[in-house]
Each structure stands twice: as structure tokens, then as C-alpha cells.
Amino acid sequence: MSDPLVLTPEQEALADSVGRYCADHCTEEVQRAGSDAFPLPFWRGLAELGVLGLTSPSEGGGAGEVCAVAMELGRACAPGPWEGTVFAARTLPDAVASAVASGSRLVSFGSPPLMPWAPLAGVFVETDGVQAWLARPAGEVTPEETLGNEPWGRVALERVVPLDRVREATDLSHVALAGYLWGAGRRVLDTAAEHARTREQFGRPIGSFQAVAHPLVNAGLGLEAAHKLVLLAARALDGAHCQASGLAAAARLSAGRAATEAAFVAHQTLGAMGYSVEGPVGHIAQRIRHLSVVPAHAHGTGEQVLTMYAGSGRT
């Protein structure tokens, strides 16, 4: 590797500003807000930072920027339809895209009938992973509570117009989700490591038991690798590398896996405290597990990774 896999100074600065904003505004209450109390002011604040319209063609934010922001949002366990917003801002016609970018309309992005954020959404984007459409509800939305505490709903959709730039938007949304999952995974693992350093049983910190320590180390290794992969995918996308789409899909799957492992290890390290709703990891662990589930429209993600081999010159 000739140059180090890091964010550019501009991307770092963006990450810093999002990180600072979240430190101030993504309170415990915001992180845990249930489906009946979406923290709109928090979401609009992100819009003011330019985060929600980052990927619109006029802003021209690339995968590096998405990655920088996503990792901070994940660490903060920020609520909101982040993946869908990244996709929508890139693909929607200007008028609708600007309502999304300003935070005045929330995006529901997926394949019906079970749609993320549907009860609160003002914009519906249907995708089958290859094509996508601006859509509208063809009936009532039936709300569903979910594992990750996101308001979802069942709804039939009617396609309005097919959208352009679906491939690149899909790649960006993979990076958006991968970065978020990595950040959230890092957060639960840091929390667990801190707990292992301070919680004492048998007169010593539980982290001194290798049965506790080694799983933390293993989960950390998984996250390190995922971190590099997310950065690599972002760079490949921004450099229009021929394997970029495959890397983006791989980053999504790897970050999901690593974060899920971190969440699980964190639970085990915290003991019963992990099961308390007010405890420090439960709500994040559930969101991680939730976001790591591969939805139907992303079922091709695994095959997507395989395209990397097709382009590797070995075939």
C-alpha cells in the first residue's frame, strides 16, 4: 500500500463537526427515542450540518465523506433513516431530494411490504437492489415495533417514477450502513472493555479473566479489519476503481458481522446489566443486530462481493 488508508483532512474535519454535534445533541434520550417520539430537532440539526444532503449530485459528497459521517453517527447511536437518506439524496429528483436534505421529510427506503420508517416517512423509495423507484403508499401504513427500536410499517407501494444513479447510490448506502455499524460496534466494545477494567468479582477486575478478555480482543480484531475495509471501499468508490461495488458490499457484510460479534461480546461481558433497558449497551446492541440483518433487496450483496473476483483478471 503506497498511501495510508485514512480519511483526508477535509473528511476528518467533517467527522469532527458531526462528532461534536452528536456529543452535544445525541443524548441518551435521543438515542433511545421510541417510535412515538422521533427526535426531529436532532435530525434537522444534522441537515444544517449538511449531512443529509451530502450525497446529492449538486453537493457531490463522495463515499469518503459518507464514511466519515457514518462512523460518527454509529458511535453516537444516532437515530434516523440514515441509509435511506444517503440513497435518496443521490437518486431523487431535486424537489424531493431537497426536502430530504433539509430534514423536513423522512425517507422510507426498502422493498415492501415491510418498510423501514414507514409510519413517519414523507418519501418512499422502493428498490429491488438493481432498480429503484420513487413510490407512494397505496393504502394505510400498519406500524410495527422493531428489534432496533426503529418505527417500521407494512404498506403496499405504488411506483411513481424510476430513479437514476441507482448503482452508485446503492454503493454509497452500503458504505453509509457499514460505517454506522462499525461506529456502533466500536462503541459497545469500548463500553465493554471499560466495564471489564472496572467491574470486580472474586477481588479482581473481570477483564483479568481470559474468558472475558479474549472474546473482547477477537471482537476488536474483527472491527479493525472492518474499519480498514470500509475505508478501502470508500476510497475505491471515490477513485472509480473497478472493484469498488464489490468492496462496498463486502464492507457492509463485514461491518455487520464484526459489529454483531462486538454487541454479543459486550452483552456477555456486562452480565445481567446488558439486559437492563437502562444499561449502557442493550439499546445499541439491538440496533446493531437490527441493521446487520440483510433485507430482501440487499440479498444480492453476497453475489456483489463475488463480482470482485470477476474483475480480478483471474477468470
Binding site: 426498502g110 422493531t146 428489534l147 470486580e200 479473566f209 474468558a211 445481567a272 437502562e278 442493550g282
Partner: protein, 380 residues
């Protein structure tokens, strides 16, 4: 060791299955979800009385204490069939498995006479007051104090993670009668009525279903001496002996297997079972459930033969944790987004499997014990 059930056990299982088919036809929905939820506990209150009426609440207890004088296998068949249905006995399984038996073994005649019949009739719930904020895995570090006071004891301290305490009548409580330095040798068991003045139960929100977790605060709680179980300072032995089988007391693999069957149906109707990857995952999860079942049977076999408890119980419990987790992961992988809807099979199994490695003896501790007692490796 033999794993064919004899005719009497098999007949017992058949009768039981018929009975459960009938009794649970009504009002027992979503049985694989939410052990410990209010709905579940309410249902179980009526159900255990019916069960008691049939003599099936405490079939393994001696007849003179309201039992049926049956053996360890029948007790186990009962537990298995109950867990297969999502444990409609609710918290009562603790009474049946170990609260009652420890009273039978260590109680005074008066304790047995007053406390056992209501259990055998299915009229009371008990909870387990062991864990404290500073004493989890290291239970012997518990600090709740019991100081002699006239004809009884004065209790002060705090318990935490006490399942079912909000609806229970009594608490099987561990408290320190000796000094902290006495460790295990300074602990006693108290049979505490939860309506005693000075007891305060505060619920903790948990997310393993609607499982009720609680904190129990004890402030100058006076209990008569007649509520001490066994000898003062000998509580650790009582707990060790009576809970020896509790590692496998809840045949969780039976519920996991039930969920797995449900997932297979779900997948079949959606044409997913043709996928070789999905098949493999089902195969693995099923194998882990079966392995857990057989390892548990090995422990029951020891129990039926009145052998000393052995580390095989730790193996069996570790295997059960693995089985539950495999089914939990499979649920989310196979169901995809549908698994995320709260109350779906996927969601419920995932939450249940999270708790599996902590409650009733953590996974790590099982591995440590297996390391020492079976592999004979030195202590860390």
C-alpha cells in the same frame, strides 16, 4: 446409560401431551415467547392449579408432602413437555424443581407442613434472591446482612435481577449471618414472605421479552427464626446441593427446538428450504439442540441413579446455550427483515438467546468448570 424411555415414562408423556393439547388450546398463545411476562405469569397461575389437580405439578415429590412419589425421569419428561410449549408453569418451575425439594431435604417439620402444601397445590410463587449489585458470578461475596434479633433476624441489604419478585409470595433469600471474611461459610438461607414490612420490590425494565426483573430492597426486615432454612451459616451447602441440577432444570433446548420447527415451517412456505446454505444452518442448529438434549439426559440419568452431581451438568448447560444461540442467529438470518418486527419468532428467540449465557450460571463459568473438572487443567 440407556436412553429408551420405558413404557411407564412413555405412557406418562402421552397422557401429558394429550392433557396439554386440551388445556392449552385456549388462552395460551405465542407460547414460545415471553417467559416471565405478566401475561405469561397470569396464565400460569390458573394453569398450575389445574396441573396440581392432576397430580402433575409435583409428581416427583414424596407422597406425604403432596407429591406423586415418581422418579427423576418423569419429573424431567414433565419439564421437557412444558418447555416445548413455552413453559406454561411460569415461575412455578423453580418451586417444583428446587425450592420444594430443598425444603423437603433441609426444612423443619413445621416448615414442611406450612410451606409445601401451598406449593404442591400451585397456590404460591417463589423467587430466588441470590444476586446483588456486587455479587453476581462471585455469589459468595454477597453482603445482605442477617443479624440475630430476639427470636429472629433483622435483614438489611439489596438484591438485584430478582426475576418474578413483583408477583411472588416468598423469596428464597441468601443473607450473611457471618462476616464477609467468612465467605461461603457465613451465609444462611431465609424463607422470606415478601409482604414482610421493610421489603420493597422495584421493577427493572429488561428486554428479554417482558421478563420481569426486579430489585429487592430490605430495610430492617424482621423474620422469625422459624424462617431460617437449615443451620445458620450452612446456606452455601444447601444451595450447592439443591441447585446442582438446576443447570439443566430448564430444558431450554426443548423450546429452541420448538422455535426451530416454527422457523422451518415459515421457511418452507416461502420456498427457502431449497437453499443449501439455509439447509446447512437448519441442520447445524438442529444438531446442537439434539446434542444438548442428549447431554442433559446423561445428567438426568445420574440423578435418577442418585449419583453425586458431576461436571456433566456444566457440559450440558454449555451445550444448551450454544443451541439457543444457534437458533437465535438462524432466526435472524433466515427471516431477514421479518425477524425484526417485535414479537416475531426471530425477535423473541434472539432476545431469549442473549440471556441464555448469563442466567443460571454464565457460559464462561461453565467453561471454567469443565476446564478444571473434566480436562483437569490448573486454575487460572
Amino acid at each position: 446409560m440407556e436412553f429408551a424411555f420405558d413404557e411407564a415414562d412413555a405412557a406418562f408423556r402421552r397422557d401429558l401431551v394429550d392433557f396439554l393439547d386440551r388445556e392449552l388450546a385456549d388462552g395460551w398463545e405465542r407460547s414460545e415467547f415471553g417467559l416471565g411476562s405478566a401475561v405469561h405469569t397470569d396464565f400460569s397461575r390458573k394453569f398450575v392449579r389445574t396441573l396440581a389437580g392432576r397430580g402433575w405439578l409435583t409428581p416427583h415429590w414424596p407422597e406425604r408432602y403432596g407429591g406423586g412419589g415418581q422418579g427423576a425421569w418423569q419429573h424431567f419428561v414433565l419439564g421437557e413437555e412444558m418447555w416445548k410449549r413455552g413453559e406454561p408453569r411460569g415461575p412455578q418451575y423453580m418451586n417444583v424443581n428446587w425450592v420444594g425439594p430443598s425444603l423437603i431435604k433441609y426444612g423443619t417439620e413445621e416448615q414442611k407442613r406450612t410451606l409445601l402444601p401451598p406449593i404442591a397445590r400451585g397456590e404460591v410463587f417463589w423467587c430466588q434472591g441470590f444476586s446483588e449489585p456486587e455479587a453476581g458470578t462471585d455469589l459468595a461475596a454477597l453482603r445482605t446482612r442477617a443479624v440475630r434479633d430476639g427470636d429472629g433476624y433483622l435483614l438489611n441489604g439489596q438484591k438485584i435481577w430478582t426475576s418474578y419478585a413483583d408477583g411472588a409470595d416468598h423469596c428464597f433469600l441468601l443473607a450473611r449471618t457471618g462476616t464477609v471474611a467468612d465467605g461461603r461459610r457465613g451465609i444462611s438461607v431465609f424463607l422470606l414472605p415478601l409482604d414482610t414490612p421493610g421489603v420493597e420490590v422495584r421493577p427493572i425494565d429488561g428486554f428479554v421479552g417482558d421478563h420481569s426483573f426486579n430489585e429487592v430492597f430490605l430495610k430492617d426486615v424482621w423474620v422469625p427464626r422459624s424462617r431460617l432454612l437449615g443451620e445458620e451459616n450452612k446456606g452455601w451447602d444447601i444451595v450447592r446441593r439443591t441447585l446442582a441440577y438446576e443447570r439443566v432444570g430448564a430444558p431450554r433446548y426443548a423450546r429452541a427446538a420448538l422455535v426451530l420447527d416454527g422457523l422451518a415451517d415459515w421457511s418452507r412456505t416461502r420456498g427457502l428450504l431449497h437453499d443449501p446454505g439455509v439447509q446447512e444452518q437448519f441442520g447445524e442448529a438442529r444438531a446442537l439442540c439434539e446434542a444438548a438434549r442428549l447431554l442433559v439426559y446423561r445428567v438426568i440419568d445420574e440423578r435418577a441413579k442418585d449419583k453425586e452431581p458431576s461436571p456433566r451438568a456444566n457440559q450440558a448447560r454449555a451445550a444448551m446455550v450454544q443451541a439457543e444461540r444457534a437458533v437465535g442467529d438462524l432466526a435472524l438470518d433466515v427471516m431477514g427483515s421479518e425477524a425484526l418486527a417485535e414479537g416475531s419468532r426471530g425477535d423473541a428467540q434472539f432476545r431469549n438467546s442473549l440471556g441464555a449465557g448469563i442466567a443460571a450460571g454464565s457460559y464462561e463459568v461453565q467453561l471454567n468448570l469443565i476446564t478444571r473438572l473434566i480436562l483437569k487443567l490448573p486454575k487460572e
